[in-house]
Symmetry: C2
Subunit: 195 residues, 2 copies
């Protein structure tokens, strides 16, 4: 147990999570998003995969009881507790390019993508190794009929948390999201704890 | 214009597609699926990304007028014609592991994943470089409310086609799908043409 850590607004971090350890991601103020990536510690070419997860879990809405799978069809993280219930696994982390595209009038930020790439670089993980993140607390409703999606303010409230149990030794990347749309326009921290 | 080529049932191929060239993928008998991958010819670490595409196109249902984007936020392929209208970009290619998982009583097949890895190996592309494919003609309805998805028989009819225009020089991987569920239980060829 490491005690609670804080990820400042618009930043990210990375750390190792051993098999059997639990990672708790907490939204301390509410309506904030945290992009989560997981790589195999033994070989970082193994990485969480939204496609494998959607296939094995037969849903795009992941919550307690669901597992996040790797590109090699191994379970990486199991969601063991979830007080929020709304997350996204469809979208890639916000980046310089997405800031220019979606917010042409606002200052460009390197976003979760740049924050993750820097935080993960000590493990030899680079920008091209970043897939779709599991976007904790992110609210991306999908119209099943038209396929249209939109990025809405997260319904998470202060203190909401998701607990992940590692099914293998992992390297984790984790952010406090930098984009305007994903967190209702305000930038807030994210807390986490390893037990 | 190369003339029409045939991909035999449960197999795959790969080829280069120059910027401005058009790839037509045809379902010659109906209700068959073709997994499509695209990599940057100049640097195969650039690859189609379902997450970037969902973000920029704001939909999970891609059809004529939509662009398939890369992990580096560049447009790779534009869909310029689509007589079928139903495709999937949520799921990863079927593989030895998915055969064991979904069809425990049936013979294991290396699936589109194995077929793509072999076909793409001359360009230095390996298994770990295979992301979610754009699954042409694949029918994966999603319940927007529950998030549940299912793999159903494709509604494509004999002769249905999708035309992609390359927005950069690409390496393309393309299959005639090997999985039972995705093509209604029968294995059929896929035709394609480059113009």
């Amino acid at each position: 147990m490491t005690g609670k850590q804080r990820i400042p607004p618009r930043s990210g971090t990375a750390f190792e999570l051993g098999k059997g350890q639990r990672l708790t991601v907490i939204d301390p103020e509410g309506a904030q998003v945290s992009d989560l990536l997981a790589y195999g510690l033994d070989d970082v070419r193994e990485v969480i995969s939204n496609g494998r997860t959607f296939d094995y879990e037969q849903t795009i809405k992941l919550t307690a009881g669901n597992t996040l799978w790797s590109n090699r069809s191994n379970g990486m993280l199991k969601i063991v507790e979830d007080t929020a219930g709304t997350h996204d696994f469809l979208l890639t982390p916000c980046s310089t390019a997405t800031f220019k595209h979606f917010y042409p009038d606002k200052p460009v930020h390197r976003g979760c993508f740049g924050n993750l790439a820097e935080a993960l670089s000590p493990w030899g993980i680079g920008e091209d190794d970043i897939p779709c993140a599991f976007n904790v607390f992110m609210n991306v409703p999908v119209d099943g009929s038209s396929g249209r999606l939109s990025v809405e303010t997260p319904p998470s409230e202060a203190g909401d948390r998701v607990v992940f149990e590692a099914l293998m030794d992992c390297v984790i990347g984790l952010t406090a999201c930098s984009a305007y749309a994903s967190n209702g326009g305000s930038f807030k921290p994210i807390d986490y704890r390893i037990d």
